[in-house]
C-alpha cells in the first residue's frame, strides 16, 4: 500500500514534468503494474535520487537531462521513458506523438525553442544534482 502511494506520487510528479498535465487513472494503474516486472535491478542510489526528486518536487526533467549525460541510463530516465511510452499508448495522449499534418513552421519553432531551453535545463539540472547530492 505504501509502495502504491509512493508510485502514484511518483507518476503524478513525473507526468507533470513531462506533459504538464494531470495523469489519467489508466496510466497510473499501468505505471504501478509495470513496476511488478521492471526495474528489478535498479541501484539503491538511483532509487534514492528518484525519491528525492519526487519528495522535494524538483524539476525532474532538468535532473534527468543532466544525469542522462552519463553512459548508462539512470533509473529516473528509465521511469520517465516508461511514462512516455504509457502516454503514447493512451488514447488521451497518443496524438502528441505522431505528426498528422504537414507543419514545417511548427517543426522549426519547436527546434528553435527546444535548443534555447536545453542549456537552461542542463544548468538547472547540474545545480539541482549538486544542491541535493543526487547520483
Amino acid at each position: 500500500m505504501a509502495q502504491t502511494s509512493a508510485l502514484d506520487r511518483e507518476v503524478e510528479h513525473l507526468c507533470h514534468a513531462l506533459l504538464g498535465k494531470e495523469v489519467p487513472q489508466s496510466i497510473k494503474a499501468r505505471y504501478r503494474d509495470a513496476h511488478q516486472y521492471m526495474f528489478k535491478r535498479s541501484c539503491q542510489n538511483e532509487a534514492h535520487t528518484v525519491e528525492v526528486v519526487v519528495q522535494e518536487r524538483l524539476d525532474a526533467e532538468a535532473v534527468e537531462a543532466f544525469l542522462r549525460r552519463k553512459g548508462t541510463p539512470h533509473l529516473l530516465t528509465m521511469k520517465m521513458q516508461l511514462l512516455i511510452y504509457l502516454s503514447e499508448l493512451s488514447p488521451t495522449y497518443c496524438d502528441l506523438f505522431v505528426n498528422q499534418t504537414d507543419s514545417r513552421f511548427r517543426a522549426l519553432a519547436a527546434i528553435i525553442t527546444s535548443s534555447l531551453k536545453w542549456p537552461y535545463c542542463l544548468i538547472k539540472g547540474a545545480y539541482l544534482t549538486w544542491r541535493y547530492e543526487l547520483v
Binding site: A17, L18, L19, G20, S26, D33, A34, Y37, M38, F39, R41, S42, E61, A62, E64, A65, R68, P73, T77, M78, M80, Q81, L82, I84, Y85, S87, E88, L89, S90, P91, C94, L96, F97, V98, N99, Q100, T101, D102, S103, R104, F105, R106, A107, L108, A110, I111, S114, S115, K117, W118, C121
Partner: protein, 534 residues
C-alpha cells in the same frame, strides 16, 4: 529402430532448405519447435490505426508482462524480438541452452523456423568476390539460388546494386518506396558520379516480401505490423516447413532438444531429450544433417566430443546505426503506409583507400515506420519532453542506416564448452567510426545530414548474423572443420548445412546463401553412398 535417409536437426533456414531439397526421400526433422500463439491478429489493419486502441490491444503491443518495454531497463534486443507475439522466437533459449559471455550477447532461437521468424527477409546471392575464401565457386550455388528465388518470391530491381546482388531474373517488382526514400534515391541519381567515386552505391534491397500476390500468399499491405506479428507477405522458412508437413514430405518431430550424436559406418544417430518427459531418445539416419545454427550446431558437436579444451571459431557481422535527417522533410506528416526496409547501400572502402582490403560493407536504410516513437526518446540529447515534441517532427524526415561489417576469424573470438555443458563465448571486436564518418560525409551531398556522435554501436552479438564455428575447408585438418560437401571431418555420416560452415562472413546478408548451400549439401548427401563422402 527405423532408419531414415536423413535426420535434420533444426528448422531454421538451413534445415528447411535442406528438407525442401530432400523431399521425396524418407527424412525426419527434429526440433525444439516452439510455435507462435496467434498468427491472425491485426490482419488487414494498419499499425497507425490500431495504436489508437492500444488499451484494447495491450497484450499484442505491450504484453501482459510488459515484454515490449524490455529495452527500457534491460539489454537491448531488436524491436521484432521484443514484441509479445514474437516471444516464442527466443523464449526459453536461456533455459534450453545457456550461453555465458561477458563480451557477446548471443541471440538464439528454438522456434519453428528459427530466428528467421523475425528476420528482415533480405536475400542476396554471394558472388565470386564474396566466396573467395570459400572452397566452392559461385556457379555451384546459382541453380539453388534460382530455385529459391522461384519458391520464395523475392522483390527487387535491376539498379546500381545489381553488380553486387546478381541477376534480377525471377524477381518480383520492388516494393513501393516511402516519399523520403524516393527523394534520397532521386538525389543519389543526380549525384551518382560523386557517390560512386567515393565507393558508395545505392539501390533497392532484395526482399523476401511480396509486392504482388504469389503462390497463394498476399502482397504486402504496408500495414506496418511487421514488428508485432508474423505476416503472410514476408517469407519465412516456417512457410516452407508447414507446406512440407502438410504435403506429407517431412516427418517433423518438435519437442526434442538435441544433445549429441553418434556416428559409425552404417549411419548416425541423434541423441535427444524429449522436452515433455525428460527422457533421452535416439533417432537414426543414414545421414545426420546439423542445421541448428552457428551456435547450436557448434554446441552439439562440442557436447558430442566432450572436449572442454576445444575452441571453435565464431564470426559476426558487427553492426552500427547512423541516423540521417533531411531538413526538407522536417515537420512533414508521418507516412503511415510504408514498408520499413527502404534502400540499400554497398560501400567499397578500397575504392578510396588502396590500403583497405577488398571487403564490401553493406547497409540498409530503414524508415521510421511501425514503431512507437517512445522507443527513441532517449536517443536525442535534449530533455525528454522536448524530445517527445521534436521526434514528432523529426521522425518523418529520418532514415536510419544500419551498417553490417564483414566478419573475420580471429583467435580472440571463440566458443568453448565447460564440464557442465554450458557454452561460453569469448569475443573481441569493435568498429572504428571511419566507415560511418565517410558515409556521413558522402550522404551530405544528397542532402541527408548526420553526425558521428549520433551513431550507435551495439555490443557484439546484437546482429544475430553469426557464422564460422565449423568452417568449410578445401582440406580440413581439425575435427570441427567441414569438407566442401558439408561432411564433418571427424565424422563419417554427419554433415553440417547452416552458417557454421562459412569460412568467412561477407557483410552481405548471409541468409540466402545459407539456404542455397544447405540445398547443395543436401543434394550431395547420397552421391557417394557406397563409401564415406569426402
Amino acid at each position: 529402430m527405423s532408419l531414415f535417409d536423413a535426420v535434420i536437426v533444426g528448422s531454421g533456414p538451413a534445415g528447411v532448405a535442406a528438407a525442401y531439397e530432400l523431399s521425396g526421400r524418407n527424412i525426419c526433422m527434429v526440433d525444439v519447435g516452439k510455435s507462435p500463439s496467434d498468427t491472425n491478429w491485426g490482419s488487414g489493419s494498419n499499425f497507425y490505426q490500431l495504436r489508437r486502441y492500444s488499451e484494447r490491444y495491450w497484450n499484442e503491443f505491450v504484453g501482459s508482462r510488459f515484454e515490449s518495454f524490455r529495452n527500457i531497463d534491460q539489454a537491448y534486443v531488436p524491436p521484432k524480438l521484443k514484441s509479445p507475439l514474437h516471444r516464442f522466437i527466443t523464449e526459453d533459449s536461456a533455459v534450453s541452452a545457456a550461453v555465458e559471455s561477458d563480451t557477446f550477447r548471443a541471440i538464439v532461437s528454438f522456434a519453428q523456423g528459427g530466428l528467421a521468424n523475425a528476420w528482415g527477409a533480405q536475400l542476396y546471392r554471394y558472388n565470386e568476390t564474396d566466396l573467395r575464401q570459400f572452397p566452392l565457386e559461385a556457379r555451384v550455388l546459382e541453380p539453388y539460388y534460382d530455385r529459391l528465388t522461384d519458391h520464395v518470391g523475392i522483390s527487387g530491381s535491376c539498379d546500381d546494386l545489381a553488380r553486387f546482388y546478381g541477376t534480377e531474373a525471377g524477381l518480383l517488382p520492388a516494393l513501393r518506396l516511402s516519399e523520403l526514400a524516393a527523394h534520397l534515391l532521386r538525389n543519389y541519381d543526380r549525384h551518382r558520379t560523386f557517390f560512386n567515386r567515393h565507393g558508395v552505391f545505392l539501390g533497392r534491397p532484395r526482399l523476401g516480401v511480396l509486392s504482388q500476390p504469389y503462390r497463394g500468399r498476399p502482397a504486402c499491405d504496408y500495414g506496418n505490423l511487421e514488428f508485432y506479428r508474423l505476416l503472410p507477405h514476408i517469407y519465412t522458412p516456417r512457410i516452407t516447413l508447414e507446406e512440407l508437413i502438410r504435403n506429407g514430405r517431412l516427418d517433423y518431430r518438435p519437442g526434442y532438444f538435441v544433445i549429441s550424436f553418434e556416428d559409425d559406418k552404417s549411419g548416425a544417430r541423434v541423441v535427444m531429450r524429449n522436452i515433455a518427459t525428460g527422457q533421452v531418445e535416439t533417432i537414426a539416419g543414414k545421414r545426420v544433417l546439423l542445421a541448428a545454427g552457428t551456435i547450436g550446431s557448434a554446441a552439439i558437436l562440442l557436447r558430442t566430443l566432450g572436449d572442454t579444451s576445444l575452441r571453435l571459431p565464431i564470426m559476426e557481422n558487427l553492426p552500427s546505426y547512423i541516423p540521417f535527417i533531411n531538413p526538407g522533410f522536417l515537420g512533414k506528416a508521418h507516412e503511415t503506409a510504408a514498408y520499413y526496409t527502404q534502400l540499400n547501400v554497398c560501400y567499397l572502402p578500397h575504392r578510396i583507400n588502396s590500403q583497405a582490403n577488398g571487403d564490401m560493407i553493406m547497409g540498409t536504410f530503414y524508415g521510421m515506420h511501425g514503431l512507437f516513437h517512445s522507443e527513441f526518446v532517449r536517443d536525442l540529447p535534449l530533455p525528454l519532453s522536448l524530445n517527445v515534441k521534436l521526434l514528432r517532427y523529426i521522425l518523418p524526415s529520418m532514415l536510419v542506416l544500419h551498417i553490417w561489417r564483414p566478419g573475420h576469424q580471429r583467435p580472440d573470438n571463440y566458443l568453448t564448452i565447460d564440464s557442465k555443458g554450458t557454452l561460453h563465448i569469448q569475443y573481441t571486436d569493435a568498429a572504428d567510426s571511419a566507415v560511418e564518418r565517410h558515409l556521413i560525409r558522402v550522404f551530405r551531398r544528397a542532402g541527408y545530414l548526420s553526425a558521428a556522435f549520433l551513431c550507435k554501436y551495439p555490443e557484439p552479438g546484437a546482429s544475430a548474423h553469426y557464422a564460422g564455428s565449423l568452417p568449410m575447408r578445401k582440406t580440413p585438418s581439425k575435427k570441427y572443420e567441414t569438407h566442401p560437401n558439408g561432411r564433418l571431418h571427424s565424422m563419417k555420416n554427419v554433415y553440417v548445412a547452416d552458417g557454421s560452415v562459412f569460412p568467412a562472413l561477407p557483410a552481405k546478408n548471409l541468409s540466402f546463401t545459407i539456404m542455397a548451400n544447405a540445398m547443395r549439401v543436401a543434394a550431395g548427401l547420397f552421391q557417394n553412398s557406397d563409401r564415406c563422402a569426402s
